[in-house]
Subunit: 329 residues, 2 copies
Amino acid sequence: MKDVAARAGVGLKTVSRVVNEEAGVTPDTVARVQAAIDALGFRRNDSARLLRTRRTSSVGLVLEDLADPFYAPLSRAVEDVARSHGALLFTGSSAEDPRREQELVLAFCARRVDGLVVVPASDDHRYLAPEMEAGVATVFVDRPAGRVDADVVLTDNAGGTRDGVAHLIAHGHRRIGFIGDQPSIHTANERLRGYREAMANAALPVLPQWYAMGPTTPDRVRAALAVMLSGPEPVTALFAGNNRVTVTAVRVLSDHPRPVALVGFDDFELADLLSPPVTVVAQDAPGLGRTAAQLLFRRLDGLTTDAPTRTELPARLIPRGSGEIPPSS
Amino acid sequence: MKDVAARAGVGLKTVSRVVNEEAGVTPDTVARVQAAIDALGFRRNDSARLLRTRRTSSVGLVLEDLADPFYAPLSRAVEDVARSHGALLFTGSSAEDPRREQELVLAFCARRVDGLVVVPASDDHRYLAPEMEAGVATVFVDRPAGRVDADVVLTDNAGGTRDGVAHLIAHGHRRIGFIGDQPSIHTANERLRGYREAMANAALPVLPQWYAMGPTTPDRVRAALAVMLSGPEPVTALFAGNNRVTVTAVRVLSDHPRPVALVGFDDFELADLLSPPVTVVAQDAPGLGRTAAQLLFRRLDGLTTDAPTRTELPARLIPRGSGEIPPSS
DNA sequence: CTGAAAGCGCTTACAG
DNA sequence: CTGAAAGCGCTTACAG
C-alpha cells in the first residue's frame, strides 16, 4: 500500500479510500491510484485490515466429522448463512475427541473469529467461558453445551424416537429392540429415553437384553442384534439409534429367517430403494445448521442481546415399508 | 500483552518469550509472567502474530459443494493433512459457479492463506497467476487447472470408464448407453471419452441417441434414459457418469420391464444392498484430498521446487451384480 | 478533497 | 537473561 501511495504520489489514506471505495476522492485521483494498484498487482491484506477493525468476518465451525453424511449438509447450511453475511468459514473435525474439540475451538479463537458454531464432542465447555465473555458469539448445535450458558439448537431426539417406537407399537409390536450410540453422547441418551417413554406409554416392559448402547461399528451392532433376535423372547422390531446402526441392521435383517420390522433414526439417500424400503425418523440437518448460523449472526450484528435460547427442531417420521411389517410370531 | 507486561513488571519481549515458550527466561520470571497471564485471561492474538511472521498457517479449500457425499471425504482428508502440519482450514463451496470460485479464492488470498486446494468450477484460472507468483502454493484437485501452470491431482476418469464399459461389453452387451454430467465439466468429458474409446476398441458403433450430457437432475436423467430404452435399437446396458445419475438410473430401471445392466461411476454407501447390487467404478476420494494436500505442504515446506506435476489416481471396478446382467434380447 | 500521525497486537533484529 | 525500538499492513481520528 505504501508502494502504491508512493507510485501514485498520494498519501496512504487516499489509497485506503480507493481500495475501500469510500466516497470523496476526485475521479482523477482514483484513476491515478487505480493505475498504480494495477501496475504493482496490489491486493489488500485483509489480515492486517482486520487487526485494526477488530472484526475478522470469519466464523469457526467445529463438528464431529466433515465426512459424515449427516454433518455435510449442516456445514453447507452454515456456510451459506456465513456467506450471506460476508463471512468466511473455518472448519474442523473433532472426531468425537473432547481434547481435539478444545484445540480447534481455541485455535479459532486465537485467530479471533467473530463467532463459533460447535457440535460438542465434550460435555464441559467451561474452557470457552473467557472467550465468550471476551465477545466470541457461540452457538452449540446438535448437542447441548456443557456447564456454560449459550445458545443451543437441537433436534427433538426423544420426541422423534418416541414417535418411531409408537409407530412400531401401533403396528402390533410388543417386543421392540433399541440399538444406540455410545452413552457418552447426549443425542444417544435422548433417543434411549424416547424409546423407554414410548414403551412405558404403552405399558410395555423393556427387558435388559432388548437395548444396547455402544460404538456403532458393524461388529458391535451385529453382536447386539444377535442377542436381541435370539432367546425365548426375541424382538419382532428394532429401532436403530442412528444412520450407521440402521445400515448394519438392514444388512443383518436381510439375512434373517423371520421378517423383523425396522425404524431408523436419520434419513439416508437410498432408503426408499431398499427392500423393504426403510422407515425412518428424519432430522432436518440443513435446518439445524441454518438456524444455528442465523442465531449466531443475529448476536454478532447486535440484533439481539437476549439470554441464550434453546431451540428444538422436530424430527419427522417417514413410513416407507420396513416400519410397517407386522410381528412375525 | 502490554497489560501482561505491565502487571508482571517485565518488558513486552519477555512476555512474548513466555507465551512462545522460548528458552532463556528465568523460571522465576516465567512464573511471574504466567501469573499475570492467568490473572488477565490473556490469549495471544494469532492474527497479529501472523501479520509479523508472514505465515498464516492456514490453507483454503474450495470445492463444488461441502454437502456432496463425494467431496465430504475429500475435504476431511485435506483437513487431516493440514492438521498434521499445524494449519487451519478455510472451506467454501463454489456451487459450480466460476464467479463464486474466484470470489472465494481471492477472499482466501486476501486473508493471506499459505496455500490453496481448489476443485475448479472454472476453466480459466489466470486470475490466480499473480497470487501464485506472490507465493500462494496452489494444488488443483479432481479437475485440471485452466490456463495456469500448477500441480494437479486427478482420477483417471477416462481409464475408469473404459474399464467399466469394457466390463459390460465382456458380458455380451453391444448397445450401451452413457449418461453424463454437463459437458462444461472436465471429468464429464473424460468419462464420455472413455466410453467412446471402449466402444471403439470393441469395434462397436455409438448411436447419437445412446449418449446424453447435461445437468444430473432426476428429470433430465429420466428423459435421457427413456430415449435410450425406446426405439428400434434400445440399449441393453447403461454406464452412469456419476453418483447422482446412478441413483436415478437405479430408480428408473427397477420399474423397467426388461432387465438392463448398469455400471456407475463413483461408489456409494448402500450400493451392495440394492437389488441387484450396483456395480461401480470407484474413485478414491480421500486419496485425492490427501495427495493434493501432501503436495501442497511439500511445496510450502520448501521440500520441492520442481515444476508442477500431474498425478492420476486409478479408479477401481467393483463388480456387484448390476453390471453382470446379460443382454435381455 | 487529502494526508500525517498514532495505533491495532504482535515479532524481529539488536543492544545491553 | 532482558528490554527498547522499529515495523508487519492496514485503519481511525483528526486536522487542514
